[in-house]
């Protein structure tokens, strides 16, 4: 557990440093994530403590954004005024996002399968 956390903190720290000095437009943790993915690809495996901690985080990711979300109390009057606009935007956008991603992936996959086969026949 601790061993996995230490690894994550180190990568996060590295990401924060890179964000501060090299790529200020990208959040430090995202850079840490990218570094860790590259490291894992080079190494070829996820060590057990890291996998365990990552799994815990994934399961309860939601808990971590409760404190920030509670800040919604500060926006309640504004949210009430724009409730219809906000809920319509969120609803339509979710449906389109899932639909478009699935259709693009499906069509693109079949097109490239066909194209791939066609090449083999030539």
């Amino acid at each position: 557990m601790i061993e996995g956390l230490v690894q994550l903190f180190l990568w996060q720290g590295l990401g924060e440093l890179a964000s501060k000095f090299l790529l200020p437009s990208i959040p430090g943790p995202v850079l840490g994530l990218i570094f860790l993915v590259v490291f894992l690809i080079i190494k070829g495996e996820v060590n057990q403590p890291l996998g365990q901690v990552a799994d815990h985080f994934r399961q309860h990711l939601g808990l971590l954004f409760v404190p920030a979300s509670v800040g919604v109390v500060l926006f309640l009057p504004e949210l009430k005024t724009h409730a219809l606009a906000v809920s319509t935007a969120l609803l339509v956008s979710v449906v389109l996002t899932i639909g478009v991603t699935a259709v693009v992936l499906k069509v693109f996959w079949y097109v490239s399968l066909k194209y791939g086969k066609g090449q083999r026949h030539e």
Partner: protein, 246 residues
């Protein structure tokens, strides 16, 4: 009310302590999670939404200012960055499974998240939402920890972004099976990818409970989408903002 009861002394002491904010945050989440498990993981019973609503009620009743609450709860908040780094593991595990599909996923993710941002921002703006609200639509289709990091970078409210993200996750997890069935998408990996982009963490939990392959692709899609957006969004917005005025 001048008589000082021991209980009120204890209360004064407790409510001034960071521990109190931590207790409400964790206890309400725990309660929400129990209800969620009891409901057989029905996406409507979202533990985060339950925890947020209960915590809001508790601090409003106690007239505790949000800043005061956050002073304590920041210890939980801090771990968001670490959790973001931890997303590297599902992305890596996904990479191993998706040989030959990476480029396809990349294209679909970019298309999906572009549509997500454009549609949300356009609709909110068209329906007359305030700049605060519209701005917070940009990052809402990204998993919350990354979304909040992006929100800080592009100067919109991380709080509203987080709230919109949670609502998006709930809607996506509820609606995804219907949308995907209507579009006759049968492959688990494609279904998973779409859910990961559209419904974040909650969608992933749902995907894992139906099919392992869908879950792995969903985790991977969520992580990749976050990375693409974190890199792309600030750049795109720098060029776009002067033209749309938000």
């Amino acid at each position: 009310m001048n008589e000082r009861l021991p209980i009120s002394e204890i209360w004064v002491y407790l409510s001034g302590d960071p521990l109190f904010a931590l207790i409400i945050t964790l206890a309400t989440y725990q309660l929400g999670y129990l209800l969620y498990v009891r409901s057989k993981r029905n996406p409507i019973v979202n533990p985060v939404a339950i925890s947020v609503v209960l915590t809001c009620i508790i601090i409003s009743v106690l007239e505790m200012p949000y800043e005061k609450y956050f002073e304590g709860a920041q210890f939980v908040h801090f771990l968001l960055g670490t959790a973001t780094v931890a997303l590297a593991v599902p992305i890596y595990n996904g990479f191993k499974r998706m040989k030959g599909k990476i480029f396809h996923m990349w294209v679909a993710l970019t298309a999906g998240s572009t549509v997500s941002i454009v549609s949300a921002v356009a609709i909110a703006q068209w329906m007359g939402a305030s700049n605060n609200m519209v701005g917070s639509m940009y990052a809402k289709s990204v998993t919350a920890p990354i979304a909040m990091g992006i929100a800080e970078r592009i100067n919109v409210s991380p709080t509203l972004t987080a709230v919109f993200t949670v609502i998006t996750g709930m809607l996506g997890a509820i609606l995804a099976p219907y949308i995907l069935n209507a579009l006759k998408v049968q492959q688990w990996w494609i279904r998973g990818t779409a859910i990961g982009v559209g419904a974040h963490g909650l969608g992933i939990t749902r995907a894992f409970s139906v099919n392992e392959e869908a879950g792995i692709f969903a985790s991977m899609a969520m992580g990749l989408n976050g990375v693409i957006s974190a890199i792309g969004l600030p750049i795109v917005l720098t060029y776009l903002r002067p033209h749309i005025g938000i």
